[in-house]
Amino acid sequence: MTNRLQTLGTRGALAVVLVVLALVPVVCTTFFTSQVGLTSLWLGIVAVSLTFLSGYGGMVSLAQTALFGVAGLVTARLSVESGWDPWAAALVGILAATAVGLLFGAVASGSQGIYFLIITLAFAQVAYFYFAAVPTFGAHEGINGVRPPAVLGDPVQDPARMYWFLLAVSVLVFLGLRHVSRTAFGLALQGVRDDPVRMAALGYNVRLHRILGFTLAAPVAGAAGVLSAWSNTRMSAGSISLAIAILVLTAAVIGGLNRLEGAWVGALLYTLCDTYLRGWTDRFTTWLGVVFLVIVLVSPGGVVGLVSSAATWLRRRLPGGSAPPAVPSAPAPPVPVSSGGAR
């Protein structure tokens, strides 16, 4: 009974949040909708592909921006240079990212922990240098003048429809990944995260599970790449530099690696800071580093973990408020090298 009430409560809260988010283009300025809204949504999607891998698969990957770049640049190339329909170009871009994800996964899945991190870092670098060098993808200049599908409008002049589209994709990605985490495949992925030796003893092909988990996250990162190219009407090697790879990791960790929604929370916080604090101080990166450190030290579950602990504390304090058991918060990694836990 309480369980059902809690589920209803969660659904209600989610609905309220969605309505508020959907009102952003109506209430806020074009600048805010485009600069903060669009950016945090696509950044959130690429970050959630990392949150998923890390939280459910124990794989902290720095290669998500590489997959993001493959999809974004293939899409940009096909639509600008070859005149493809944007949707068709996006589909091919995302498929390309998935294929590369399968390849990356096959290579990296034999390693764990810090070695996995280093291998995926190498993938990120290889992708960066490849796209920075190859003229087909605009080399350092990148590809400009990417046109999103006409139905989504002009992302600069009138970003409302693009914003709603990104919001819808975000919701679908969130629900999709959450569904996967509850299927046999998703549970087994968490089993592999917790104890690969045990999973092998139970009859599982641990490596194959890792590869498939990694491959599953690739189209998510790829979709974010397409949406980024559409939102900014351009993409270049610079969009997937090491700095960006670390930014994605930062956003995911700030939000909280053990909850999918943390990815968007982290992306929003980063984008807000980037938009409004950068002007105040020329030590922006330093301050961001300090904030990152404080969050990691204070709450291993990131901002989302902090909020849910605070909510539990409040409920316990409020008169008459019985304390329902806290949402089990998994032991998140103190540093983003070891495997985290999510459910």
């Binding site: 046999a184 968490q190 917790d194 030796v197 045990r198 003893a201 139970l202 998994a330």
Partner: protein, 249 residues
Amino acid sequence: MTDPVLRVRGLTRRFGGVVAVGDVDLDIAPGERRAVLGPNGAGKSTLFNLIAGADTPTSGSIELFGADVTSSGARQRTRQGLSRTFQTSRLLTGLTVEDNLYLAAIGVDGGRFRLVRTGRDRAARERARRTAASVGMADRLKTLAGDLSHGEQRQLEIGLALVAEPRMLLLDEPAAGLSRAERQLLTALLLSLDRDVTLLLIEHDMDVALTVAERVTMMHDGVVIVEGTPAEIRADQRVHDLYLGKAHV
């Protein structure tokens, strides 16, 4: 005589200069209850790892259910009907008791890659719950494995081995760290196992081992010293010198 379910010949495993298991022969008949005894470092866990496929022998051969499995991995042997527990619990600590058992059930049955919930999932879930009840964990289904007490973790460890309905069960010191009452429950559980299941048991606790086992293999320094019935083992002078003497002083 019926063919053995497990036939081990000349099994050897070296770690550098240490011979953890040296030239061991072992035959286990269908439905047999066999205990492996021996002081710490005798090579019992290493022998189990070799039989389960978690480790590769330096030399020798292993035949399981009539087929040579020396070069096949842990996964294949599990699918053939071999289950094992670990001396130190290896649980999926971030998942609930029920999900642990559910994954153990479908690990052998199939459906490991399924992305939707199907009717077959219900069957596996049902099996997970039944197994939880049989190891005394019916009221802990929704608890995270990482939050269980030591005794409960040992119970779940056995549940994970049982849920797949194995033909052969390897238990590595299942009573380690259990209270007296928990040991009695464990003994009762082992005695109640279906006779179709062959049981190979490493146990430090003589009461559990000699109550459950029909035959006992005594190891020391990687080699088999003596093999016999519990009564013979109790009477054997070498066993007393090596093990009983030390363990019961």
